[in-house]
């Protein structure tokens, strides 16, 4: 007669490892499916339509290892970051002015809404007509396309600040700088990070359009070259450079969120 052996609970570390593998698997699965479908299509279609992803991989390595090509990636990255920083600073100042004065708000809101309706390509045309310098044209396009979004998001964050907490901080008679440091900045930081995440995606799309016209370097310029050569592997490899950049910056922003917002209570029940 055999004795029943009680079912042993797997150790907690193993459970955590399995859960982590499951989570990673779930997030990686969609990419694996797309990669497999593309690779499968590459077996049946000409190279200029569906190149093998192995070719694309080697093209990516080439871009990373070639100083001149990587300089093009860096140029685009710097253009995106400069444009976003410019729009954020101008948008933040406009939002502050709008929250302080109803007249300024009434004056600027319709103008910013109007800007929001202007397509990125129109700004490209305007920039070419108005300005000569390529870098300034790109900077102008980046700022104008992301400015309304930054302004409205910072404005919304400033308006959503708790009146009770503001009154409490005011009761200690802070200087303007201290009010900004202890109350305003931490209160609006979550919305600022969200604004950066949203605008980062927009900016990475707009910068390519801006670089297509006039630039002599950058990812957009390189994409134009690949289009003229009918080189799909090259077009994909250059596109992936922007995707990698966006993923890296999103990762950095998420890291900042996880550190800066550790004070937040986490409910055990998800939405």
């Amino acid at each position: 007669m055999s004795e029943a052996v009680p079912h042993a609970e797997p150790p907690q570390a193993t459970n955590r490892l399995l859960a982590a593998i499951k989570r990673a698997g779930t997030s990686v699965l969609p990419f694996v499916v797309v990669i497999l479908l593309w690779q499968f299509a590459s077996l049946f279609f000409p190279r200029f339509l569906f190149p093998s992803l192995i070719d694309v991989f080697w093209r990516c390595i080439e871009i990373f290892s070639s100083g001149a090509m990587f300089a093009d990636v860096l140029a685009t990255v710097l253009r995106i970051l400069a444009g976003l920083a410019g729009a954020f600073i101008v948008g933040g100042l406009l939002a502050l002015a709008m929250v302080r004065s109803r007249a300024v708000d009434n004056f600027l809101s319709p103008i910013l809404s109007l800007f929001q309706g202007i397509p990125a390509l129109s700004w490209v045309v305007f920039a070419i007509i108005w300005f000569h310098g390529v870098e300034f044209r790109i900077f102008f396009i980046m700022v104008m396309t992301t400015l309304p979004s930054f302004t409205f998001q910072v404005l919304g964050a400033l308006r959503a600040m708790s009146k009770d907490l503001m009154e409490m901080v005011f009761s200690f008679r802070p200087t303007r700088m201290k009010l900004f440091r202890v109350m305003i900045a931490p209160a609006i930081l979550p919305d600022i990070l969200t604004a950066w995440k949203v605008n980062l995606g927009n900016a990475s799309r707009v910068v390519v359009v801006a670089e297509l016209v006039g630039a002599t370097g950058g990812v957009g310029y390189q994409l134009l070259q690949q289009q003229q050569l009918f080189d799909m592997a090259g077009a994909l490899a250059w596109t992936l450079q922007l995707v990698f950049f966006v993923l890296i910056v999103q990762g950095v922003l998420t890291l900042i969120e996880n550190t800066a917002f550790r004070y937040r209570a986490v409910s055990e029940r998800a939405i």
């Binding site: 009761s171 200690f172 004070y263 209570a265």
Partner: protein, 256 residues
């Protein structure tokens, strides 16, 4: 039993103060305070009592310098708390109805807030904040964020924050109203002890007669729109019978 003190002596002086919300004279105008005269002597604990909507919080905000009176004069230690707003830095502390803790700061950092405004060096303000948290029974919770504390603990942090600046004037707007009676009772007793020990002048807003009797050495009952309907001072020698008389008189005034 009316308290009489000249404005020069008063820690807090309100002379013919009115506050109208909305455009004065228009139909939408609402008179929250009407020609109020009130003086609070240094070291006094005044309980302002009245029903909801009688203008207590408006008076509170005017004394705190957060609202400007429509007419009349408000003086705290001889100065205008609204006009000379910055000159009251570190001289006036407020305990609000809710705890109003900054959620992104730990208990210790919340208590340090007022000291930061006074440019107290980091080590000194940490030591002071730690001392007040310990006094209020929150030793060991210094590095907890507000969401990790109970309602009573959060309110104790907000009391510690008010006391940490060592301000001479304390304003309290129903600070224990959101707590259960047992916690509120404990905190109330602790609060009175701290105010007496530290020789503060305090204005305590409440709508509870028992709380006013327990906390104040003077009670002012307000009727809408914030006019004094009853003003009584008493001390520790006031007997139980006399206190009961005061309680029933306040009840009559409030019911009238």
């Amino acid at each position: 039993m009316r308290d009489s003190v000249t404005p020069i002596e008063a820690a807090i002086h309100l002379g013919h103060v009115s506050k109208v919300f909305g455009k004065p004279g228009s139909e939408a105008a609402y008179r929250a305070v009407d020609n109020l005269d009130l003086d609070v002597r240094p070291g006094q604990m005044l309980a302002l009592l009245g029903k909801t909507g009688c203008g207590k919080s408006t008076i509170f905000n005017m004394i705190a310098g957060l609202t400007e009176p429509t007419s009349g004069t408000v003086r705290v230690s001889g100065r205008d708390p609204f006009g000379d707003f910055d000159s009251f830095r570190g001289k006036m502390a407020i305990v609000f109805q809710g705890d109003r803790l900054l959620p992104w700061r730990t208990a210790l950092q919340n208590v340090e807030l007022g000291l930061e405004m006074l440019d107290v060096p980091a080590t000194d303000r940490q030591a002071t904040a730690q001392l007040w948290l310990t006094k209020l029974g929150l030793g060991g919770h210094e590095h907890d964020y507000p969401h990790a504390l109970s309602g009573g603990m959060r309110q104790r942090v907000s009391i510690a924050r008010a006391f940490a600046t060592n301000a001479n004037i304390l304003l309290c707007d129903e600070p224990f109203s959101a707590l259960d009676e047992s916690t509120a009772g404990r905190l109330r007793a602790e609060f009175v002890r701290l105010v007496k020990e530290n020789g503060k002048t305090a204005v305590f807003i409440t709508h509870s007669i028992s709380e006013a009797l327990e906390i104040g050495d003077r009670i002012v009952v307000l009727k809408r729109p914030a006019k004094i309907a009853y003003d009584v001072s008493f001390d520790s020698d006031t007997g139980k019978e006399e206190r009961e008389l005061i309680r029933s008189r306040i009840g009559e005034v409030l019911a009238a």
